[in-house]
């Protein structure tokens, strides 16, 4: 318990610990923003290079395909050599994959830039500002939209690869990313908590 203005308070606030956490988070977001800008640059250059190179350079001999490294399944899959034969052209699949990668990285960059601004406001002792409420709402909506949008693009790419490999009757199931949708909802709840905080802050500021 602590005394404040003649009143006994049951809560205390460890400002030193809070400032340490804020500093670490600020540095992580700064480094991430710079890193992601570099990554976006590389992706744009790569997509540009692939688009302007001749189509013939992207012929891939499927007889050379012996294993598939699936990051999604976290497994290295051995491929039946009789299953995939012939030569396929992967130029537009590469461009599409690059575009999907660019979209993912841009989404992350958008979130980190907004988060960086929010943390600056919190560091300046204005956590419950109107701008911060809007920022968290935007991040939440971005996560919600990405939960529906990114699986769509991934599905389209996978569909295109399946058709290119002429496997046969393959149905690509469309699934939403529940983790991102749940994250989006949580962040929107957080934005509403900040809005309540703003109301309490105003109430406190208007109390003499």
């Amino acid at each position: 318990m602590i005394m404040k203005g003649g009143m006994i308070m049951n809560r205390s606030f460890n400002k030193k610990y809070f400032n340490t956490i804020l500093t670490i988070t600020r540095w992580i977001t700064k480094v991430s923003v710079v890193g992601l800008f570099i990554l976006i640059g590389f992706l744009l250059i790569s997509i540009g290079v692939v688009m302007f190179l001749p189509v013939e350079l992207f012929d891939f001999n499927l007889d050379n395909l012996t294993t598939i490294d699936s990051q999604y399944l976290k497994a290295l899959i051995e491929v039946n050599p009789d299953l995939f034969t012939g030569i396929v052209n992967v130029k537009w699949q590469l461009v599409f994959a690059g575009f999907i990668g660019l979209l993912n990285v841009s989404f992350l960059q958008y979130v980190f830039i907004i988060l960086k601004k929010a943390i600056i406001d919190v560091s300046n002792e204005k956590p419950f500002s109107e701008k911060n409420i809007k920022r968290f709402n935007l991040i939440g909506i971005a996560f919600l939209v990405s939960g529906f949008l990114f699986p769509t693009f991934n599905g389209l790419l996978f569909n295109s690869i399946m058709k290119m490999l002429s496997i046969g009757d393959v149905n690509v199931r469309y699934m939403i990313n529940l983790q991102q949708i749940f994250m989006g909802l949580l962040i929107i709840v957080l934005a509403n908590i900040f809005e309540y905080g703003a109301y309490l802050q105003e109430d406190h500021d208007m109390t003499v």
């Binding site: 203005g5 003649g6 009143m7 109430d203 208007m206 109390t207 003499v208």
Partner: protein, 67 residues
Amino acid sequence: MPIITRLDRVLADRKMQLSELSEKVGVSMPNLSNLKTGKVRAIRFSTLEKVCEVLECQPGDILEFKE
């Protein structure tokens, strides 16, 4: 707002400036000015106690209820 403050009247009676009251009570000038003009939402008992102590008055002298 039904609760109105008569701080200006009491200050005039005691011939005290708002700045002097601010110094003695330990509340900032902008906040006291807001109290005087009725722009505050609430007043803490601790603040009311200090104001009454300095102005040597009752809470009812500073606050009035008007429907």
